[in-house]
């Protein structure tokens, strides 16, 4: 059983934050809210998302699992204005999801969850640094780096207490340093890892500019990016595997 009403903007941002990595996913419809965990086919980027029942205008569920075509569902949700309400109801018999938006009825065929890529195990990461940073600063760094390169180094200089971003192109370079004053918080440990900008750009698209993002970094380790959605009634964690740094 699943029946819920949610503001379109919340549904859209939830779907977008998963949709930047995968085209289809499993959604757990738990009593306390929905949960999604997915990894892209190359096993490089992962998303772990929860949206609490309180984030919905109304919510009833008893622990089902559905598989959805995210691209399709994003299109449907995109039909609504951001403050419109979207009603969702699962038809257990036909395994279809009924979606209604201000009189518009859409019946979405679900995908057999078994046929969707298995949900990934969460990596076990021991990361030395924690940087709490505004979404807009991540956006600045990623946008600038993309002008010169297809990868980006994120690191922390423990001695100087700064978080830095470096991108080196064939001719041009980008460098950004943020210290404790520029950041919301910084727990500095020695850290440096190189990441693909393709992935980071996609994740960046889903990070609200005004979000407070907790970034955890290590030495040639995956990065974790954690932020709240739906005014704290939901949360997204991205994990991105590093590239091997050539010496």
């Amino acid at each position: 059983m699943f029946k819920a009403i949610v503001r379109a903007e919340r549904l859209q941002s939830t779907l977008d934050s998963v949709g930047v990595l995968v085209d289809e996913c499993k959604i757990h419809l738990d009593e306390g809210g929905i949960e999604i965990r997915a990894v892209d086919p190359a096993n490089v980027g992962m998303v772990d998302l929860s949206l609490d029942a309180d984030a919905f205008e109304s919510y009833e569920a008893d622990g089902g699992l559905i598989g959805v075509n995210l691209v399709r569902l994003q299109d449907i949700a995109g039909m609504a204005d951001s403050d419109q309400l979207v009603e969702l109801e699962l038809d257990e018999e036909t395994r279809k999801l009924h979606i209604s938006i201000d009189g518009l009825e859409y019946t979405l065929a679900l995908i057999d969850p078994e046929s969707i890529r298995e949900e990934p195990d969460l990596p076990d990461l021991d990361l030395s640094s924690t940087i709490v940073i505004e979404g807009r600063d991540i956006d600045r760094a990623v946008t600038a780096a993309d002008m010169v390169s297809d990868h980006i180094e994120l690191g922390v200089d423990e001695a100087d207490g700064v978080f830095y971003v470096k991108a080196e192109g064939d001719t041009d370079d980008v460098h950004l340093e943020l210290d404790g004053d520029d950041l919301i918080d910084l727990v500095a440990g020695e850290a440096s890892s190189l990441f693909s900008l393709d992935y980071l750009q996609d994740m960046n698209k889903a990070i609200p500019k005004d979000a407070e993002v907790t970034m955890e970094l290590g030495e040639e380790f995956p990065v974790k990016l954690h932020f709240d959605i739906a005014e704290g009634e939901g949360a997204v964690t991205y994990m991105l595997a590093p590239r091997i740094q050539s010496n």
């Binding site: 990894v39 190359a42 096993n43 990934p120 195990d121 990596p123 590239r243």
Partner: protein
Amino acid sequence: MGNADLRDLAAIEEVSFDELSGSTVAVDAHNWLYRYLTTTVKWTNDEAYTTADGTEVANLIGVVQGLPKFFEHDLTPIFVFDGAVTDLKDDEIEKRREQREQYEDDLEAARERGDSIAVARLESRTQRLTETIIETTRDLLGLLDVPVVDAPAEGEAQCAHMARQGVVDYAGTEDYDALLFGSPLTLRQLTSKGDPERMDLDATLARHDLTWEQLVDVAILCGTDFNDGISGIGPKTAVSLVTEHGDLSGALAARGEQIEHADRIQQLFLDPAVVETDPDTSIEPDVDAAREYVVDQWGVDPDEVDRGFERIEDALVQTGLDNWT
């Protein structure tokens, strides 16, 4: 037994590259290269694939375009090259040579007629693996740090042996003979656009209630690369004959037929010349050196290989999250 006959008997299913992630495959290098030469060069201008002095370089393009698929799906290839030709296969090779000469005559005629489509088709069929092709392929694989194994005889038999020994997870070849060489799991269509096929020996044997030895006998009755089959015996009949009479000699006796060197042919499949090997599969390519070799040394148009090298580099420097679980 022709490939179509063996396909009828074989247990084959499509698999996604995702499922193969993390495994190793011993690739029949000649078979793989040949596929690339006949598919990449097909319908295109021969001149783009040779140097000014006429040396063949299409194989270098094929390698650069073909390898990314393995690396991007974390499927580690080990290329196995043929050694000496097996004596009994001489007839088959002679036949292929005659066929090629025929194609070459046709090609000449098509050129004279100005039939460009026929020319393209025939050019692809007359592709041969010259010594230069083998040599430059090996040089390039070396620079890319892709493991290479030299088979004492048939590359395919060596691939199957490595799969049997568990040195690799799969043999990789288009040829259905891999089943006869006893490869437990074989990947086909590694060069095609879609998903590969997985051919399963145990499932094949279970389906027909045969042993591996009996499957070889069935193949010999229908005809293999090493012998002509008995006229009028197709795969179904061969399976019933071997099932009824137990083995090849029983089946032949019942039909009053003979196959020359039958026991030697059986041994070629069941106990072929192979070497024990356990190659290092951690791949650390020198992409810059490989590019220099292909573009500067062999004069291949960078446009043909840039994207391939980029994909190889990306696939090998990008780690996966599963390294941390």
